[in-house]
Amino acid sequence: MAQYVKKDDDRDEEAEYSPFAGIEKGAVLQEARVFNDPQLDPRRCSQVITKLLYLLNQGDTFTKNEATEVFFAVTKLFQSRDFGLRRMVYLIIKELSPSSDEVIIVTSSLMKDMNSKTDVYRANAIRVLCRITDGTLLTQIERYLKQAIVDKNPVVASAALVSGIHWLKSNPEIVKRWSNEVQEAVQSRSALVQFHALGLLHQIRQNDRLAVSKLVSSLTKGTVRSPLAQCLLIRYTSQVIRESSMNGQTGDRPFYDYLEGCLRHKAEMVIFEAARAITELSGVTSRELTPAITVLQLFLSSSKPVLRFAAVRTLNKVAMTHPMAVTSCNIDMESLISDQNRSIATLAITTLLKTGNEAGVDRLMKQITNFMSDIADEFKIVVVDAIRSLCLKFPLKFRTLMNFLSNILREEGGFEYKKAIVDSIVTIIRDIPDAKESGLLHLCEFIEDCEFTYLSTQILHFLGIEGPKTSDPSKFIRYIYNRVILENATVRASAVSTLAKFGAMVDSLKPRIFVLLRRCLYDNDDEVRDRATLYLNTIGGDGSVVETDKDVKEFLFGSLDLPLANLETSLKNYEPSEEPFSVKSVSREVKSQPFSEKKAAAKKPTGLGAPPAGPTSTVDTYEKLLSAIPEFSTFGQLFKSSAPVELTEAETEYAVNVVKHIFDEHVVFQYNCTNTIPEQLLEDVTIVVDASEAEEFEELATKPLKSLPYDTPGQTFVAFEKPAGVPAVGKFANVLRFNVKEDYGVEDEYQLEEFEVVPSDYMLKVGVSNFRNAWESLGPDFERVDEYGLGPRESLKEAVSAVIGLLGMQPCEGTEVVAANSRSHTCLLSGVYIGNVKVLVRLSFGVESSKEVAMKLSVRSEDEADDATAAVESEGDGRLKSQAPLAFFKLKTLLTWSCQADYGVEDEYQLEEFEVVPSDYMLKVGVSNFRNAWESLGPDFERVDEYGLGPRESLKEAVSAVIGLLGMQPCEGTEVVAANSRSHTCLLSGVYIGNVKVLVRLSFGVESSKEVAMKLSVRSEDEAGTEVVAVNSRSHTCLLSGVYIGNVKVLVRLSFGVEIFKEVAMKLSVRSEDEADTHHHYYPK
């Protein structure tokens, strides 16, 4: 043995020695022929396999033929009984991953090994089989696998369980059959078997919440041996906690004690997993957090970098939501700033920036300054981002932070880093007005020595916008003109534009700017000269102090409201001709989907239903689209277009959403329809809108869609008239009506969900730059104040965003962000209401201990006609709680009285809400003979529909529920359901509003799984009555009549029903004069 070591030492002195030096694939493949020798040399075979594996590992690939050849040769090695060689054979088979037709060669050998007496063979054979076989073989070996799972050798059991986890992805139904064995393995004494069994058992049951909950509650009480299994159990436990808290349980969290107990486990892995699980609990309280934070704090001073990293990363996340909880770790955190591991140091700094208070900012910045010089750019970017958010949090500290940013801006750094700093400074300038002057000067200094053209042009552009608005714009001119002298052509050109902006905006500077611009006329770059010439001529080149024309300003500096991509394509397509290129010829349509590109030339615009690219361009697009339709062109200026509201569930046959376009006197609904059935072409698609619950609206025009092919979105429009300038609200029910063009057109309709026009549709999100000024300028005379109790809410944050969403206004000054754990919040909103009325809202929220949220709403608006104000209030008032989809309309009663008792405080008390439902319009009126009455109405007045009622407790319960819903009178005692019957027919009668007699026949059936199906047949004197039950659907009835040969009148009734798997069932009922009824059921393929 010593001999070898010596030999090795000698070799060390030579150059790089490798046993694989000069290895070649071809040669190794030749060598692989030894596998075919009649007298196998196991050692040599092992070496060759090692070489093959080395090649594969280095990234060499074998061609299909080579791989097949090697594989077949390797299979011969199963003859050898050499233990070591067999292990290598297993390895290479897994690496070669043979194709399924080749696998057959080895399966019998592997199955033999699976039943071998040698444990290592059994374990490895299972793992190899798992890697190479598919589901067909699995059924054959299932029996052995079940045995292996409960094998007394832990290696075999683990191999079977781990393979089970892999197989579960491809053959879940087979693996699920093993749950008894897996359950037994969970109780195994071997630590790792328990871990693997737990993993597999959970994956088998993961969709069964109850089973997972049971698993967790039994195991948390018992003993789980390995730390890995303990970690798994913690993950499952927090899943159970999360799901149970969704059910709205209150009080103590189940299993929290278990998690807390794990913090005292002896394995660090488990302690950390538990601590992390606790910090990630939803709505975790500070009392729950404390023990976890304490444990993590201990980790911070560990000697192991991995522990420090894990702890600081978790604390960093906690700091985002619970900064106060982490402050106790600040001292440990500060010592980590100098950590060798820069990831840890960066995480420590960003955590400190999040938890720090205003007073500590200066000290912290001093520490960071030392640290910044020796970290990589990517970490610096993280720090810069953290500083930006710190600055927005403590605006008063902007001087310190801005200084810091300008210092690091002067230091060395790559583009991404510098860009992050510049972006941060720009954000700070935008959000903190006081920081503007100093921030702009810092940027000016930066461009004096900036190597990045992109950043220079960005800053010059920004200077052109912000610079002229400062108190002394002239001081920036020097910096800008220096660019014209010193920089490359791109920067020079943008410097010229910036100079021109100063000239156009600041009249006093104009003559001096002109002198500078004239010098640029001699620049040696075309673009620079062109720009200088353009500006000199348009702004007014005579050098006199005149105010620049507004149109010119708009032309030169206004935004180009064209999608740049469209402009580019148009310019590319333009061929030089007599006719000059016109911007007007460029399409304004935003191409949000690549596939619509080709169709852009066609008349019909497409792809509008897709998420639009930008808010302003959407409005443009909509405006253009609507004005192109002659019926709507007279409606005037489009006020607002809402975001699309989905009217269908996801994955239905037809996907429809609606965009509400608000005009002064009109409302246009744009229905974006998509047909998702490949074999159907829909024609004459219209939407039938029932506006009976929208009183102020009157239908004016509809624009049907000629055809709707598969997967190409199309639009149909319905226009309504409404009183001018009035924010009319209402609810609209919709039915999609169309002809299905398969072989012949069939008229069909499809029930859509209803939507509402709400007051927020009349509100434009328009921000104000300085809310306080705007608020003060309106003055208290224009103010209305009201208070509301919002009831218990999940969190203050949720309440604030709900109110903002309801009002549809623009949050100002970042006030939509609610600090975690704060008990009160003020939110500033602004908007423009229909009629161009500017509205400002100040919302003050407060939370009581019981999560009750109270809101004070102050509104100021330009117009004292309290329209807008009142509307805003009514929104806050009536709509906050009405979210139940079934509600036809909801009334909420606010009882207001003055509490004179102590201080005369106005108070209010909220009552529960109630609904007016359709059954309120139904009178219970019985009939003496149901059959006679039924027949007298005849099948012509009949509507039939079928419904799946889902699993029900009993048939009886289902019957009485339906009777209750319909609010009708049961006849002939049919409301009584015989016990244990599997089907039932119930007869109902009633009188609907408008004195319409309605008869209903309900047929119920129960399946074994308690699924109740119902067939509802309605006959009524009037079509209107059927609307009560005409609900969308999965069924359709078609009546045909004809005269058969021999002059026999035939009436045919076809009932179609669609079952869950799109299977269409058809019931054909034929009535003819010469025969009794025949009923047939057909189930087409």
């Binding site: 090795d8 490798s18 233990f83 290598m88 290592v120 890697r131 890995l228 970690c231 997993e273 591991n341």
Partner: protein
Amino acid sequence: MESCPSVKNILLLDSEGCRVAVKYYSDDWPTNSAKEAFEKSVFTKTQKTNARTEAEIAMFENNIVIYKFAQDLHFFVTGGDDENELIISTVLQGFFDAVGLLLRGNVDKKEALENLDLILLCLDEIVDGGIILETDANVIAGKVASHSVDSGAPLSEQTISQALATAREHLTRSLLNV
């Protein structure tokens, strides 16, 4: 996070960042060039750090990489960024110590290449398709070293070190004689 802890790859590189043995368990790097690019970036970013006494940690492209160096060998284990760092670290430690045992303390590139079959078997015993099989270095080394035991002889009659010795002897001899 409800799933089993999983390992995305295990890398063993030399002091120039070249592969000694690597094993990928995830589809995040579908091609060999993607794998090599990942190895290169991980290697260059960690090469200057001191990860000889304690395992170090870094983040790359939303992955946690835990690494440790010995002589001219660099050991890496990668996991997803929401994985428990300490679990990944346990895997690395198991791999590192098992290789140490298998190479009998001579943990360097030459020794590793000469015993590449042991290293590959070692990787095979630690993780199967991303799922951790075993993290105890002694058990891993024991399983790998049972390699050269004749199928007739019962395992229990050989100690781990005996098994290791025979394994190594056979292999060095046979490789040197090529």
